[in-house]
């Protein structure tokens, strides 16, 4: 009998290959959706079994034993990825036009699951690369330049990880997580691995996982790669694939946490290495959120927003307290569901209108009511409005940051949240409300499979928002202790209490009152869009700041000094310099003059001769 873990791992890949090979419209979509549904079904089946104890499986391939384990942590991550993967498959049923995309989208699905389930570095690295390769192929299809950027940064990350794995292997002689963990734990007391070596391994892993998570300053690939691919796939790309990086950071704690603590010690009562992670997360949150606010393209906006939200997860993990882990893990789930939902909504908008810029949008709420409702749920969840999953997870992160006595980091989250509100409001208004451009008059509702995909992700947003206790209950079991107290509807931490049900009831009541006032009390007047922002001043064409165009330009001008620095441009320039240098080197030496080549030969011979003499 084939093992359940292998079914979970390889069902998407096999389905992808079959869909690709058959390539019959209709059948390949069905196969793809079934393949994407299998992991989620299997994970649901194994849920109770996982809580009793981890499920192990190992296969031996050419001398390497690959170990897979479904424990409470990998189950959580795999379930989140499978949920988003299933929604992606439904979305792709209408947005993808080629079987090529099915093959690589489902291949990256398998890669992500493999990363979560692997219990040794051989399998981890193999699946990590499978995931990178497949997502690279997805981006390559649409945009060569962006895919190259993604590829180069991923390769840097992969080599960093390979070197780190090699160093760990040289020091501990083990490749499986359990042995490495034990060896490093023992080594913390003996100290045979010096502080400098530990620092190098740590930095290399930070690079490797940071690239995939899109952590500052390695985030530059993300905006391009997220926007330049099938948007349904981006739901998985940004919702689940970026979590592999976050999972890596967690793995750092599991494998080398104690050793890192022993090597670096503490700083103001915080673990030094966790402090670094927390600040990487905080910088990512602030910078990506500012950049997201300034975007004029829907896809770019959500791409930066996605980078920023993964920053929250890193920040929460960096707090190093169990409450921080609970918050970060909860945010893994809520980010996956609301950001996946956002991308599916974007996919629907782009599919139906063919436009990506805010300036071409408007008034779509009447034309695409269901998509609008889904977009609204995503907006509420991302902005952290109470009865949504996004609020519960962010609230936990706030609580954790305050409890960990890191005021500056907590400030970064607050700033990031304010900015998140600023950009989602713009999405909400510019796309759905206001005047409709005349060429969008005959836009229709998104097709059914896409709507199903959205619903799959919208339901967890609401359910886990109203009953966050379901998630925290599981997280308590995973983290081994009563980290977050309360029942299904109430979260209790040492510093605060959040009653989701009460908030929901109050909110619904408030909305009902507001609705009654709107229906019976208010008199509405139709006004041009630009009226609201110009305060009665005449609008000039070069400073026409409507919500669809340059809405946050004053902010961009205020930030002008900082916006002159860009890591994206820095890397591009670095690449340019390297290219120019190589070019001038080539022209200087390879000059077409026979006698120069004779000189090189003579000089080399002379050096060799002297070497022999000396």
């Amino acid at each position: 009998m084939i093992n359940e873990l292998l079914i979970i791992l390889f069902a998407p890949l096999v389905a992808g290959v079959i869909a690709w090979a058959l390539d019959i419209r209709g059948i390949r979509e069905a196969i793809g959706i079934i393949g994407a549904a299998v992991p989620l079904a299997m994970l649901a089946k194994l849920y109770s079994q996982v809580l009793d104890g981890a499920i192990n499986h190992s296969i031996t391939i050419s001398g390497f034993t690959l170990q897979f384990q479904l424990n409470s942590m990998s189950w959580y991550f795999a379930a989140v990825a499978s949920l988003v993967g299933l929604a992606m498959a439904f979305g792709m049923a209408v947005t993808s036009r080629e079987s090529y995309e099915w093959l690589f989208a489902l291949m990256s699905f398998t890669g992500v699951l493999g990363v979560f389930l692997s219990q040794d570095f051989v399998g981890f690295f193999l699946f990590w690369e499978l995931m990178t390769f497949a997502s690279f192929m997805m981006v390559l299809k649409r945009n060569r330049h962006e895919s190259l950027k993604y590829f180069v940064l991923s390769v840097i990350g992969a080599y960093a990880m390979l070197i780190a794995i090699g160093m760990l292997y040289a020091k501990t002689g083990a490749l499986d997580f359990a042995s490495i963990r034990q060896a490093l734990y023992l080594d913390a007391a003996m100290g045979t691995i010096t502080t400098r070596e530990t620092a190098i391994i740590f930095a290399l892993f930070l690079t490797a996982f940071g690239v995939k998570a899109g952590a500052f300053p390695l985030h530059v690939w993300a905006p391009g790669a997220y926007s330049e691919t099938d948007q349904s796939y981006t739901a998985f790309f940004s919702g689940a694939l970026s979590k592999a990086g976050a999972y890596g950071f967690l793995l750092l704690y599991v494998l080398m946490g104690y050793k890192l603590y022993a090597a670096f010690g503490t700083f103001h009562d915080h673990l030094v290495f966790a402090y670094i992670i927390a600040w990487i997360g905080a910088l990512t949150v602030i910078i990506a959120s500012f950049l997201a606010v300034l975007q004029e393209d829907i896809r770019k906006l959500f791409a930066y927003s996605s980078v920023g939200q993964v920053g929250y997860i890193l920040l929460a993990f960096g707090l190093g307290t169990s409450l921080g882990f609970a918050g970060g893990l909860f945010h893994v789930l809520s980010h996956a569901v609301f950001k996946g939902l956002f991308w599916l909504v974007t996919a629907a908008i782009i599919l139906q209108t063919g436009k990506t810029q805010f300036k071409d949008m408007g008034g779509l709420a009447e034309k695409m009511p269901f998509t609008f409702a889904m977009g609204l749920i995503a907006v509420l969840s991302l902005a952290g409005i109470p009865p949504m999953a996004g609020f519960a997870s962010k609230w936990l992160i706030y609580e954790a940051a305050i409890q960990a006595h890191m005021p500056l980091v907590a400030g970064a989250i607050f700033l990031g949240s304010a900015l998140a509100f600023a950009y989602v409001v713009r999405f909400l208004y510019a796309v759905w409300f206001g005047q409709r451009p005349s060429d969008l008059e005959d836009v229709k509702e998104a097709p059914l499979p896409l709507l199903i995909g959205m619903a799959i992700l919208a339901i967890p947003n609401i359910v886990f928002g109203i009953a966050p206790g379901i998630v925290t209950d599981y997280l308590n079991k995973m983290l081994g202790g009563e980290v977050v107290g309360g029942d299904y509807y109430k979260l209790v931490t040492p510093t605060g209490t959040y009653n989701a049900l009460l908030v929901t009831v109050v909110l619904v009541l408030g909305l009902a009152i507001a609705g009654l006032i709107y229906i019976y009390g208010a008199r509405t007047r139709r006004i041009p869009v630009t009226n609201t922002y110009q305060s009665g001043n005449p609008v000039t064409e070069e400073f026409n700041l409507s919500i669809r165009r340059n809405f946050y330009r004053p902010l961009a001008e205020a930030l002008g000094f900082w916006l002159r620095y860009s890591f994206d441009r820095f890397y591009e320039r670095l690449a340019g310099i390297a290219e120019d240098f190589a070019d001038s080197l080539r022209q200087a030496f390879y000059n077409g003059n026979v006698q120069s080549y004779s000189w090189y030969l003579a000089i080399v011979l002379l050096i060799l001769a002297l070497w022999g003499v000396l």
Binding site: N593, V594, Q595, S598, A602
Partner: protein, 114 residues
């Protein structure tokens, strides 16, 4: 004390190398190559020389013990043939270059390429 044969052979090689590196006329470079080749051959032969021994031909009164090392001589025989062949080919290339470009200056020829 370095043997005069070695000294002479290496000097010939260096003279040839000098011509190859510095002279601009293609024919002079080829002459330099020929000189270098002669130097190399001389050096090889002189490596096999054993003082007081005769030519390595087995005949009356001369056994293997009385002959100089025959291997460098065989090598040099081969090298001479190769050298002549390369020189002949290089010269024909020089003729073609002169027909095509009207000059034998290597820098001029380089400037005209492409």
């Amino acid at each position: 004390m370095i043997s005069v044969y070695y000294f002479g052979a290496i000097t010939l090689i260096l003279i040839g190398l000098y011509a190859v590196l510095v002279k601009k006329n293609l024919l002079k470079i080829l002459i330099g190559l020929s000189i270098m080749e002669t130097g190399v051959n001389l050096l090889l032969v002189s490596v096999g020389y054993v003082a007081g021994k005769s030519a390595p031909i087995l005949s009356e009164g001369i056994g293997p013990a009385q002959a100089v090392d025959p291997i460098p001589q065989a090598l040099v025989l081969t090298a001479i043939v190769i050298g002549v062949a390369t020189t002949a080919m290089a010269l024909s290339v020089a003729i073609i270059l002169h027909e095509k470009y009207g000059t034998l200056n290597v820098e001029e020829i380089r400037r005209l390429r492409g």
